[in-house]
Homo-oligomer: 161 residues x 2
């Protein structure tokens, strides 16, 4: 358990990290906003999947996922094939054009980070990646059922029994 002061500082840094994300976003192709890019990259990384699985990986509502997926499908970067096992579901698969787009996106993000982080050591980059992955993991199910935080009265007690 870290000191409150450190949590406070982390909160500040997290709130400011949007600037970096916007910086990365500005480097994206004009026809591929960040939402579309995220869909493509996840499909490349994890392989074909259903909408619900993708929504989970994106950590956004399925309605949002549906819109992003509709966009990349319009671009012919993915196909939405009916799932023979469940006619309500659709299986998302990258097309060859989609795979080419992923390659382009990967190349772009590598080039952008190489540009801005040229003076970072390999170890520092890995450390940051690792900590960010852990952070995501710790927040994990904050969208799930009982994600409501305790009220100010609760949990403020120093040492839970």
């Amino acid at each position: 358990m870290a000191a409150q002061r450190q949590y406070e500082e982390l909160a500040r840094q997290l709130s400011a990290i949007g600037a970096v994300k916007r910086g990365l976003g500005r480097g994206l192709p004009a026809d591929c906003p960040s939402g579309s890019a995220a869909v493509l990259v996840l499909l490349a990384r994890h392989g074909e999947m259903r909408m619900s699985r993708l929504a989970e990986l994106l950590a956004v509502d399925m309605s949002v996922t549906s819109r992003h997926v509709a966009h990349v499908a319009e671009k012919e970067w993915i196909h939405r094939d009916p799932d023979p096992a469940d006619k309500r579901s659709r299986i998302l698969r990258l097309t060859p054009e989609g795979k080419a787009k992923v390659a382009e996106l990967t190349d772009l993000s590598i080039r952008t980070l190489t540009h801005y982080l040229h003076d970072w050591t390999d170890d520092e980059v890995v450390q940051l990646s690792t900590l960010l992955a852990r952070l995501r993991d710790s927040f994990g199910d904050c969208r799930a059922a009982s994600a409501r935080l305790p009220h100010p009265a609760e949990e403020t007690t120093r040492t839970p029994a």
Copy 2:
């Protein structure tokens, strides 16, 4: 200079960090969206300042800053006093109510992070904060004048002369 593979992984983690930010945002008071919160926290941290300075700290366009500031001013959390030295400028100052709101926000973010990161060590939290600060710094002036990334052809050369 890190390996491309590491940059690729970092890009993935950064693109996914939005989920954590949204998680933090869900904990905010209903009358204080993240844009307003950022304004208040920066004023508390750095003291009174002009719009242009705030826009720089927020790393967003001044038009965006102006809207956020208008919102917190409506709430009476800040005052916008004319700058005697330059009648075009306005000096932003927290009101007592604004300071109270900052205290509430700080408490909330600490509670949220304490909740989700209860198994992190102090050192890990500090490390992540430090790396995020450095990341922001490295991206620094990516909004500035010649922030345009070199074209695919350039900079790909391994060792610039």
